[in-house]
């Protein structure tokens, strides 16, 4: 399983997001999975990556929370919704865990 976190320096949520990803992996017994962090530095980088805000977490290349079709590509901080409806700069830990669990099972099946 490949986990990649795309980040932009204009948002202070990168460390917290990385910690959340690692915590979710640990909860699933997947501590060995490497989390790659990739900085998005420019509008050009954002266009190339389809980056709709920081942090964006890709699991096997798929966005953990698929962006809405009208989501603007560019350098900004991403708005997530917690399961209780609150706005947050990082994904809900349960959504993160669930997406990683599904990806891990898929990896196991296709192995």
């Amino acid at each position: 399983m490949n986990v990649e976190l795309l980040w932009w320096e204009g948002c202070p949520s990168t460390e917290r997001a990385l910690a959340a990803v690692r915590e979710a992996l640990a909860d699933l017994g997947l501590e060995d999975v490497d989390v790659r962090a990739r900085e998005i530095r420019s509008d050009g980088d954002a266009r190339d990556a389809g980056f709709v805000g920081s942090p964006t977490i890709l699991i096997d290349g798929v966005d953990l929370v698929p962006a809405a079709t009208d989501e603007q590509i560019g350098l900004s901080c991403r708005v997530y919704r917690r399961r209780d409806g609150r706005v947050s700069p990082i994904p809900d830990p349960d959504d993160l865990r669930e997406a990683l669990r599904v990806a891990a099972e898929r990896t196991e099946v296709t192995r």
Binding site: G10, C11, P12, S13, Q72, G74, S76, C77, R78, V79, Y80, R86, V87, S88, P89
Partner: protein, 176 residues
Amino acid sequence: MSLSIGQVAPDFALLDTEGRKWSVAGYDGAPATVVVFTCNHCPYALAWHDRIVDVAREYAARGVRVLAVNSNDADRYPRDSLDAMKDRVANEDWPMPYLYDSTQEVAREYGAKVTPDVFVLDAEDRLRYRGAPDADYDNPGERAEWLREALDAVLSGSILERPETKPVGCSIKWKA
């Protein structure tokens, strides 16, 4: 350049979403004014918004004015355009005016860096607090406690123990 604690805040004349003009100076009798730089698209500003709204409502009875200011470059970030601001105010219950700093001059003069960035001014428009609303955007239970502490100190004429905290949020989107 950033406004320092104790310094008189620069005055401004900004229009809100209804086209009304607002300024800092010239409001005799207002014991405190909160200028909060905020915007529509930032998760930190959105996460803290309800807490700031609660403060605006609760302290209005004590004469406190809260002015929300959006300074982001709307060309690059259309979600922070004046039209988007108007939509938001029309669809939400705002107890404070939402001002548009289209030239970004006010943000530069205050030295605002992120959204939200909170400035509390006393009756003489001197800066008494600058920073985050409270310690954790992710915990509504914090209730914008640092902002409340600042207002309570200004209103009671007491010394503010925490005049500055680090503002946390999305960087202000400056024009190129």
